[in-house]
């Protein structure tokens, strides 16, 4: 079962926004056994959209469309779909009720409702309306000549709710989908080729209905087993058996046996052991805190910390000695040691991370070029520090510092808990 995602609108084509919708949709489809064959981003142009729909129909069974459903002149998806299917537009009662309810909630009255607002309830007459709980543009489901077309708003949270609540359940109910089971093993600290060599014989012994994918990303590699079959129980047993062999072989590099980010694996591990964490961030400037706190339940483990950009805050919040900074500099092993030990002490956490470095593009010296970063992790009793030399791109230095800090914390945790 193949799908194509078509995103409509100039914002993506001019690079004004990054297309995060397609990744979300692709994940959701993959999880139910629908493979995405192509993602096409096209402009707000009738002819271009019609061509994209025709091309997609030849490649895919399911065509998911986002964008172009707003109330302005640029938004031509609905009209273009009506033309594509050669049908007219009709007003849908449920969609109109939804538009009115939203308008009423925002304005307190329907008096000033404009025609453009009402027109949000117009849909091609051959579609089934999928209600949009978060906006005025209805979703539209078409089942024509054995192909399914689903048009959704481009606003991410409107699309996300619609996918999870309506589209995925409806696809499962409508299509005969294979049983598909994924199992992901998250590893850190070893390269893709090293891992491939280490588990070569296990990979070679996989039956043809189970695939292994290597998914590398900044110091981490995800090993993902995907099984396709008809019986969920047998398939799950098979996958689990192979996964267990891989986990045993790869050993300490395994961080989690599920598809979660590194920081979430750390939160889970620390949470299960009743441990708390704080951070002292200089050059990462809040990014590590953000990584942890984006996850539900982070507060069980993550107490918080200091974003100590200014040296005065390193002293005030963490108790770093003024003499240490003036003698060794803010970016030094001595300072990062006092930062991380200060965090454990002042924030009363079991573990802490500290990072201080020169993210760039300015601030580098001959001794300490841009990209020089010191990272420390500590549990009060034991402190480990390390110097890194990254590149000269600021945003990447921040990301690489964060991932390296997480890896170091993970290693220290591994030495102390099972």
């Amino acid at each position: 079962m193949l799908a194509e995602i078509i995103t409509i609108g100039d914002e993506i084509l001019i690079g004004q926004i990054v297309d995060t919708n397609s990744a979300f949709i692709a994940q959701q489809l993959n999880a139910i056994g629908i493979r995405v064959k192509q993602i096409s981003s096209v402009s707000d142009d009738k002819g271009h959209i019609l061509t994209a729909l025709a091309e997609a129909k030849n490649r895919a069974d399911v065509i998911l469309i986002t964008g172009g459903l707003g109330p302005t002149k640029d938004d031509i998806t609905k009209k273009t779909l009506a033309e594509y299917f050669d049908v007219g537009l009709i007003e849908n009662k449920d969609a109109l009720a939804n538009v009115e309810a939203i308008f009423l909630r925002l304005r307190g009255t329907l008096t000033n409702m404009l025609d453009v607002n009402k027109q949000q309830a117009l849909v091609p007459e051959n579609c089934e309306v999928i209600l949009n709980k978060n906006g005025t543009a209805p979703g539209m489901w078409f089942n024509v000549d054995g192909k399914i077309y689903m048009s959704m708003p481009g606003v991410p949270h409107e699309m996300m709710y619609m996918m999870e609540d309506s589209v995925i359940p409806k696809l499962k109910a409508t299509l005969k989908l294979p049983v598909i089971i994924h199992k992901t093993i998250l590893t850190a600290g070893e390269g893709e080729s090293y891992l491939a060599q280490k588990i070569e014989d296990i990979e070679d012994s996989l039956p043809s209905h189970i695939k292994l994918a290597y998914l590398p990303k900044l110091g981490q590699v995800r090993l993902r087993l995907s099984g396709y079959g008809e019986d969920a129980i047998t398939l799950k047993q098979e996958i689990d058996t192979f996964a267990a062999r891989i986990v045993e072989r790869v050993g300490n590099a395994v961080i989690a046996q599920e598809d979660i980010p590194l920081e979430k694996a750390i939160l889970n591990k620390m949470g299960a052991n009743g441990l708390t964490l704080s951070v002292a961030e200089s050059c990462t400037g809040g990014y590590i805190s953000h990584l942890f706190t984006q996850h539900p339940g982070a507060s069980k483990v993550f107490l918080g910390g200091g974003v100590t950009y200014a040296n005065e805050l390193k002293e005030e919040l963490l108790g770093v000695k003024s003499a240490t900074i003036s003698q060794y500099g803010a970016v030094s092993g001595e300072t990062v040691t006092e930062m991380v030990e200060g965090a454990v002490k002042h924030f009363k956490s079991d573990y802490a991370i500290a990072v201080t470095g020169i993210a760039g593009p300015d601030g580098g010296t001959e001794d300490k070029p841009v990209g020089t970063v010191w990272i420390g992790v500590s549990n009060g009793g034991k402190t480990q520090i390390k110097k890194f030399t990254f590149g000269n791109k600021r945003v990447q230095n921040i990301e690489r510092s964060a991932i390296s800090a997480l890896s170091m914390l993970n290693t220290l945790l591994g030495e102390n808990i099972k």
Copy 2:
């Protein structure tokens, strides 16, 4: 002049990574007057890539390809390009020297260099090699039948350097590009339709070679004027005149007259006035700090702050009274007031932002459902607080809280500085 971007590889199609490359490439192309007609993400499949190239050639003059240049079996872009152009592969000396230099730097010796490494220097014989300073896969430039094809690695930082250093200059030198001038006006706090109504007559009076685009995003709208012409000086004068009329009409909602994010506009404004900022983040968990600190030069304004997830840290770092939290709760106007005033005082900044709320999905009560967020901004003398009720998606609550906090700070700044 039209372009198409083709990204090759399954990572995007399975939703494992978000395609940030295309947005970067699109921005770079737009800035030199090349419009992106379509972005296509296709799988590691020869037939599929050949079809995508043929389709793109019919739509565009410039075809930029990323991905599929690694050393593993999946990486078939090079072979497929050779087949598409019906040429053989040859070893390129410069590319080989680059592979060897990188190998030597990483391993200290060439002894263990494998055939797969050397094969990175093979390229289709009709291409011009564009050196990759950050990796072993060379860029490949083709100029065939009046169409330009440029194949780049998919690793973002390798592609980014290659675009900036080589591809953009080469496109400018090769193609006859129009003069294109953009001017962006960043506004906050007013909706797209309100703005459109307010400047309707100015928009109607634009000549046909100047376009106005409304680019809305989370509480902000960018108004972008794009002019196309032959004489840069005249065009710039024209655009500046229209921009000045729009700025005057829109008034206080104008935050910046350049294409920068809200937090960068705040940093610029505060920096120009010698003001400093600190933050006290609870539910935003470091995200606001991260927004500021991702920008070069942030340290001139941003001193840092506290990520005070745990109540103990709100007391310890910000001096919030224990009694305030127990009487009114951590998510309350009283607590956010003490947080923001505590930040100004303890972090010794001119201004501060504080945020405390229930990001969800858990932690809501009947009185304070998930999405309840209190935000405060202060300059010591004056404190403004506001309660927001967002939705129940954690990551979005964090983002919306951050943008709302930035808007409030911007308003307070506007009252105090010109």
